[in-house]
């Protein structure tokens, strides 16, 4: 079978001792682990103790190591970085260590693969476990060899001392460590905020290895999973097939309708919203004509409330049945505003609407930052500028829509899919949907098509498969169709932003006033850094207003950073322009020295050979013109910790990013082509510089796509962007060449590196457009119609 899964039950202890037989079969005993007393209580979604070495790694007789982590590989190379961290601490080779499959019945919670935290925080768990294991192994070796620990050396898992050798495998001899990890004992109760406080060990923090002894970490390493990807030998979630498995599809209107009518304080559906979303996003089923698919062999309709699905023995049969089944739906009762009225809909923010940040409680309007008095600051300014900016709803848009296999029995369920950033979340959704205790649903995660954030499909798809499996009594695989993914994603929220700012006669910023309107309910309020936090501004105020919810939203790679950076960094550029300054020099004059933000600025300026001077100095009447622009951006992940007067940089290691974009504009067609991007990040201590460079390249291309052409569209009833024709994504022909710059800072904690350049690129492109044309763009995507309109308004067409 393609999925390489075999039957048979095996306990974790047997697995640990057995050296890697793949486990499957529901009912796997969650027993046998040492330190069971520290395990979460029955029914907890986190069954594996987080403070035990044995939860994280197993040393086998052949001197190889299996590593366990809840951090999934989403294409960023994170799992390779975690292997590097463990191999470094243990002094084994990369060829001696590999990951066990992420399975909630065998894998401890050890951070989430999101919010720029996978390597930084996930790595701290892994480092603490490996460093603790290493100390224990050295102790065993000292006894075994009769040599003091200080006289031992380790290479490739072989401990040497006094002229003798012993391997880790021989020392462990099939036993468990049965050993607590001190750091993780004291931080065992992992609340959502405690894991932000970095629960393990940082690079070089004793008993972890001193940084100057590193052999692997900090040096470029290839991704361990690439050969499997390139030779079609790595099993993706979509490749899993179980015996007796049927194929299923969901039937619903193609494109979700408005959720406005479902809105209630505290969230529309509570924790069990996925089945409702599956059920047409609020449109009720009026009738289902089962006879309409009678001609399709083996096809069967499953209806649970407003949920309608089909199953068939073969995939094509299921697809045809879903397509041909006649279902009548109620009309959406609450209209969507339509794209053209989005700004008005967002401005209808209501005081008191919940913001749904990780800390419950905040309601609209949210005061993010206030220093000094902006009105006073504006009155002191020699020159002021202002602007209103708008971003659009964006799709996560994996190339492969989500897929899942669910096997539901009377006593439990197993789901196989690519889990989202939050471990065990889908299992909880499935449990609620099929009426099982949360602890009886096992979630196995395999590599999948990356979806760049939190979506809903990663819960909806296994939920659909589980509802179908329960109904037919067999395993069911659901592959979402293209329209499922695009029509029912939890989009990244659109924003409307008003900014006013002033500068004095000496070119110093005096005031910055930022007011945003967005329905955002899953990500943090506008980041305090992307809204002028980089600069020295004596009077600054940042406010977020919560607008009525049109759709469910979820974080998309660099969530709630695009609008802030797009608006703020254009306003800063405009201030530089009105005082006749070079955009970079203007920024330097308004920043503190010795700032990592200056490091990324200088890095891109140097790489791009930036020639100082005011923007838009060489405007041309030619139809095709070129320009160059700069922008800062980041992703600040401690959203819930924001508040008035808080300096983010002291709370969270935030990764500064800077970008310079070289663009070409065709004034007649309105098409912008980004020819080259120079992008720099300073993520602190970089575990794997080559893979961070990949992330800079990837985010530069993705950011270009989002900034230029991506936009969820909807009419007055439903979402209308449901394929790659109606939701365009940057194609090969138009991609920029990218010069990635990764700044290594050995004395700074590891930060995120998978998202930051995206927000920097939005204003870099817009500022390049101004440089090329002398016209500001206030709306993303900066698609041809937006460009033509802006040029026409400015009389420059």
């Amino acid at each position: 079978m393609t999925g390489a899964m075999t039957g048979g039950e095996i306990s974790r202890r047997a697995f640990l001792k057995g050296g890697g037989a793949l486990i499957v079969g529901f009912g796997l005993a969650r027993v046998g682990l040492a330190g069971q007393a520290n395990a979460a209580p029955p029914g907890s979604p986190l069954p594996i103790p987080v403070d035990q070495v044995d939860s994280y790694l197993t040393i086998h007789a052949d001197n190889t190591v299996s590593l366990f982590s809840s951090i999934i590989e989403r294409g960023n190379g994170t799992r390779t970085s975690l292997l590097m961290i463990a191999a470094e601490e243990l002094d084994v080779g990369m060829d001696q260590i590999s990951f066990a499959r992420l399975d909630t019945s065998t894998t401890p919670f050890s951070g989430i693969a999101g919010g720029s935290q996978g390597t930084s925080i996930g790595g701290s768990f892994t480092r603490a476990a490996a460093a603790t294991a290493k100390q224990a192994l050295l102790g065993l070796a000292s006894t075994n060899l009769g040599v003091p620990v200080a006289s031992l050396s380790v290479d490739r898992g072989i401990v040497s001392g006094g002229g003798k050798n012993v391997t880790y495998g021989e020392l462990v001899d099939g036993e468990l460590f049965d050993l607590a990890i001190p750091q993780q004992v004291k931080r065992n109760d992992l609340g959502v905020f405690q894991y932000l406080l970095r629960p393990g060990l940082e690079p070089g923090e004793a008993p972890a290895k001193p940084i100057d002894q590193y052999k692997l970490v900090g040096r470029p390493q290839p991704r361990v999973d690439v050969p499997g990807i390139v030779t079609a030998t790595l099993t993706y979630s979509g490749d899993v097939r179980l015996p007796e498995m049927l194929h299923g599809r969901v039937v619903r209107p193609q494109g979700q309708s408005s959720l406005l009518k479902k809105r209630t304080p505290g969230g529309p559906y509570g924790t069990n919203y996925t089945l409702e979303l599956l059920a047409g996003g609020g449109q009720a089923v009026l009738s289902v004509d089962k006879s309409s698919i009678r001609h399709i062999a083996g096809a069967r309709v499953v209806r649970v409330g407003n949920f309608v699905g089909v199953v068939a023995p073969d995939e094509w049969g299921a697809i045809q049945a879903a397509r041909e089944l006649k279902v009548r739906w109620e009309k959406p009762s609450t209209p969507l505003p339509g794209n053209d009225n989005l700004e008005k809909a967002l401005r209808a923010a209501e005081p008191g609407l919940p913001a749904s940040t990780p800390i419950p409680g905040p309601v609209s309007p949210l005061l993010i930052t206030e220093m000094g008095d902006v009105e006073t600051g504006l009155s002191q300014a020699a020159k002021t500028v202002s602007g209103t900016f708008r971003t659009s709803y964006l799709l996560h848009g994996p190339v492969g829509p989500h897929n899942a296999v669910a096997d539901v029995t009377a006593t439990g369920a197993t789901i196989y899919h690519q889990c989202g950033p939050s471990y065990n979340l889908a299992a909880q959704g499935v449990a609620a949907a099929v009426g099982l205790p949360a602890a009886s649903v096992r979630e196995i995660s395999l590599q999948g098509s990356s979806f760049y954030g939190g979506v809903s499909t990663d819960q909806d798809c296994p939920t659909a498969a589980a509802v179908l499996s329960k109904a037919v009594g067999k395993p069911v695989r659901v592959q979402f169709m293209r329209w499922d993914d695009m029509g029912y994603d939890n989009y990244d929220a659109a924003e409307v932003i008003d900014v006013r700012a002033g500068v004095d006669a000496n070119g110093k910023l005096t005031a910055f006033d930022y007011v945003a309107y967005s329905q955002e309910d899953a990500a943090q309020p506008p980041s305090a850094i992307n809204t002028g936090g980089v600069y020295l501004i004596p009077n600054r105020k940042v406010v977020g207003n919560v607008a009525p919810r049109l759709f469910m939203t979820a974080p998309l790679r660099s969530p709630m950073d695009r609008g802030p950076a797009f608006s703020t960094e254009q306003i800063i550029d405009e201030l530089a322009y009105v005082v006749g300054s070079d955009p970079l020099e203007f920024r330097r004059q308004n920043m503190t020295g010795n700032d990592p933000w200056l490091a990324v600025l200088e890095a891109v300026a140097s790489a791009a050979k930036w020639r100082p001077g005011p923007a838009a100095a060489k405007l041309s009447d030619a139809n095709v013109v070129t320009g160059r622009g700069f922008g800062f951006g980041t992703h600040a992940y401690g959203g819930g910790l924001q508040g008035p007067g808080l300096d983010f940089r002291t709370l969270d290691p935030t990764t500064p990013a800077a970008a310079i974009a070289d663009i070409e504009v065709n004034k007649k067609t309105g098409k912008i082509v980004v020819k080259h991007v120079y992008a720099a990040v300073a993520p602190g201590f970089v575990i794997n510089p080559a893979r961070v460079a990949d992330q800079v390249i990837g985010t530069a291309v993705m950011g270009t796509s989002q900034a230029l052409i991506e936009e969820v569209t909807f009419n007055k009833s439903n979402v209308t962007s449901r394929d790659w024709a109606t939701y365009p994504s940057l194609r090969f022909k138009d991609h920029p060449n990218v010069t990635p710059i990764v700044i290594q800072q050995l004395d700074v904690l590891p930060g995120g590196a998978g998202e930051e350049p995206i927000s920097a690129l939005f204003p870099a492109i817009a500022n390049a457009f101004f440089d090329a044309t002398g016209v500001r763009l206030h709306r993303v995507p900066m698609k041809p119609a937006v460009v033509r309109d802006a040029l026409a308004r400015a009389g420059r067409k």
Binding site: R74, P222, R223, P227, V399, N403, S449, A725, F732, N737
Partner: protein, 171 residues
């Protein structure tokens, strides 16, 4: 019922169980358990499902299996053998196709979901164009979507593979 349809995939003949209108993709994945070609859109918009049909790139998600009878299909799994035949080294231990090796050497994939289709399209390109220019590569690859942003590295890898293949052919 008529005799069962037969298709030739990676030089093996397979008897198709599904109906004649089943898209080739589902036959490859569900009957032959080949995991190189993948479902991306079902609309021939993204190229995740691409295979070679007599050496030319084809979208298997919209091609009825009956349409490929009597022709030769190659998936990602078949690229090493295709390269071995081209070098007339059949029977010898198969090494990776230069494109696969370049993908590894350059470290192209991020999530990797689209990369099978990318390598298939590149194999089509390099079978007809030796040492293509950057512009030629950009145009040839334009129908294939990557959301992770690996295009720049794909460009590098194709140039690298092209150089290796040109050298092999001179040898």
């Amino acid at each position: 019922m008529a005799t069962k349809l037969k298709i030739r995939v990676n030089e093996h003949v397979h008897e198709v169980s599904g109906s004649r209108d089943t898209p080739l993709l589902y036959v490859l994945r569900d009957e032959l358990h080949l995991i190189g070609p993948r479902f991306g859109c079902g609309l021939a918009q993204c190229g995740a499902c691409s295979v070679l049909l007599d050496g030319k790139e084809l979208r298997s998600c919209v091609t009825p299996v009956a349409a490929v009878a009597g022709k030769s299909i190659t998936t990602l799994e078949g690229l090493p053998a295709l390269w071995a035949r081209k070098r007339k080294s059949a029977g010898a231990a198969q090494e990776l196709h230069p494109l696969q090796q370049a993908w590894i050497d350059v470290g192209v994939p991020q999530c990797g979901y689209c990369q099978s289709g990318m390598m298939i399209q590149a194999a089509d390109l390099l079978s007809t164009t030796k040492n293509p220019t950057e512009h030629r590569i950009r145009v040839a690859m334009n129908g294939h979507l990557c959301r992770c942003g690996t295009y720049p590295k794909i460009l590098t890898a194709i140039k690298r593979a092209a150089a290796v293949m040109a050298k092999e052919e001179r040898a």
